[in-house]
């Protein structure tokens, strides 16, 4: 093969590759932008006695505050991309407000679902919870909320019908965060697990410090969980950093600010009689925030896995 032909072939391949990449990028953006819009088109505007009223609302990470006030921060902290909102009303019945949040990834849809885990499990989407007047579920990269101004049997039935209609429009299921595989299974209270990135959310569930001493952020995945073994309880945190260096830096910072007197020797007994400890596993940092016993703290650190 002559030199000129080789160059031409290489250039052709390069152009094809670039075009394919650009095309796939366009496709990604298009499918992302269309998704909530497609769902809005496909979703019935009448559910039993309820009819959609007014125009659908659409919000992004900035305008979400206009819609749901301070709680918008929760969704932003899980990288919310867009939200579609629609109200259904029926004569003599409470309004039903449907909010579909596109969280950008199934991991974050799962994460925002774990923010509030009160309620009874329901069979919608990949996981659902029902509290009096509020049904929420997640599927794929979507978190869906159906809220009733007050609960009536008919409104509850309509909300479930609507929820299942939304779930059926989301064809594929999404995967949960891989970091879940790192949690020790024994004694784990499933409903206690919170998946998060932002220190503000960690502080909401378990106040640690007024500053971000674990260097949590968009590049970190964290799990907060409660364990119960033989009558002893523990709060456990597992954080995945982008690389072992960042994990080591965070571990040093945590020990310096939270357990300074430990001088590297953990577990350490806290002022309330509970035990705290931390250990590194590659790019994972495992932290026992509070444990009723020293042995439970040591066991949890030993059993936590550095998953892929």
């Amino acid at each position: 093969m002559r030199w000129g032909e080789s160059v031409k072939k290489a250039l052709f391949l390069l152009l094809v590759t670039l075009a394919a990449g650009w095309f796939s990028l366009l496709m990604t953006r298009k499918s992302f932008a269309d998704s909530l819009a497609t769902m809005a088109e496909a979703l019935d505007r009448q559910v039993g006695a309820w009819n959609a009223t007014g125009q659908d609302g659409t919000y992004d990470g900035e305008t979400i505050y206009d819609y749901i006030d301070g709680a918008g921060e929760v969704y932003r902290a899980y990288n919310m991309q867009r939200c579609l909102s629609r109200s259904y009303t029926a004569a003599g019945e409470p309004a039903i407000v449907l909010d579909i949040f596109d969280m950008g990834s199934s991991e974050d849809a799962f994460g925002v679902f774990t923010h509030d885990r009160e309620g009874k499990p329901a069979n919608v989407g990949q996981d659902a919870l029902y509290r009096q007047g509020w049904l929420s579920f997640w599927k794929s990269r979507f978190f869906v909320s159906l809220y009733m101004e007050r609960e009536t049997p008919a409104a509850k039935e309509a909300a479930f019908h609507l929820a299942r209609a939304v779930a059926s429009l989301i064809r594929e299921e999404g995967r949960k965060p891989a970091i879940l595989l790192g949690l020790p299974p024994k004694g784990l209270r499933d409903r206690s697990v919170r998946y998060l990135h932002h220190p503000m959310l960690l502080n909401y569930h378990y106040y640690l410090a007024d500053e971000n001493i674990l260097n949590l952020g968009k590049e970190t995945d964290a799990l907060l969980a409660t364990y119960s073994r033989d009558g002893k309880r523990a709060r456990f945190l597992l954080v995945q950093y982008p690389n072992p260096g960042k994990a080591k830096e965070a571990c040093s910072r945590f020990l310096a600010h939270y357990l300074p007197e430990a001088e590297g020797k953990v577990p350490l007994r806290l002022e309330n009689g509970k035990w705290a400890a931390a250990s590194l596993k590659g790019r994972f940092l495992a932290v026992v925030l509070e444990s009723d016993s020293r042995s439970l703290a040591e066991d949890l650190l030993g059993e936590a896995k550095a998953c892929p």
Partner: protein, 298 residues
Amino acid sequence: MSVKNIITRRDFLRAGACITLGSFMGLPHGVGSSANREGKSRVVLMRDKDVLDSNEQINRIALEEMLDDAVTTLLDAPDPSSAWKRLVTPGDIVGIKTNAWPYLPTPPPLNEAIRKRLLEAGVGEENISADDRGVLRDAVFQQSTALINVRPMRTHHWSGLGTLLKNYIMFVPQPSRYHDNACERLGAIWQLPHVKGKTRLNILVMLTPLFHGMGPHHFSRQHTWPYSGLIVSQDPVAADATGARIIQARREAFFGGERPVTPLPRHIVAADTRFGLGNSRAERIELIRLGWQKDQYL
């Protein structure tokens, strides 16, 4: 970064309470407080079962009378006009800090009643403004010499309770900076130069308080009830602490057992012990009950 500059959960554990953190952070105690820190703080709970009709629509006349009775009693004044003249002078520039949350806003008839009394006390119409989210851009608020703080009581996603103390979060450009640890540092906002010492009256609206919230909207009508009350005080901490006790009691009655507000509204106690803004403990509050006595939850 200095280790000692960061407050952690363990600092709270060591202290056993947040009482020492004021000095720890170099914050003054009792400065700029509108409350009586030495003695008891007076709080008036005024209720009228007829202020709401069966559809929870407000009877304007009854509401005006509730406000008048509460303010007059609070200040030991002979009549409403005298009472308001003790609160403001004709030279004052008055911002009425309301709350615009769409599900449970400050009732417009109450705003109008306050405005009417301010005008009667001689404050110029051009020197009165009612606002919530726009207070930092509002010319009257920017020049204000006096503030009237008025909002409904409700549970709140970040602070546990949406209180009078919480209502001033719009006086900072980035409210979310105060969300950590259940908004425990809200009292610091009351020490800012454009806020400090200006509050003349606090009115916690307890007409249909929200005692439980859930979901993105944090509201459901079934978690409100017609309490039909106003809590009025010059001490925002005492008013909030009183309202918080009512909310907690209502939750226990509704849910049938202990069900603490989540997250715990730490900012109320912190406003007392850490920021010196008033009294949160019941024994430091002189509670005067007026009107309808049934199911007071106190």
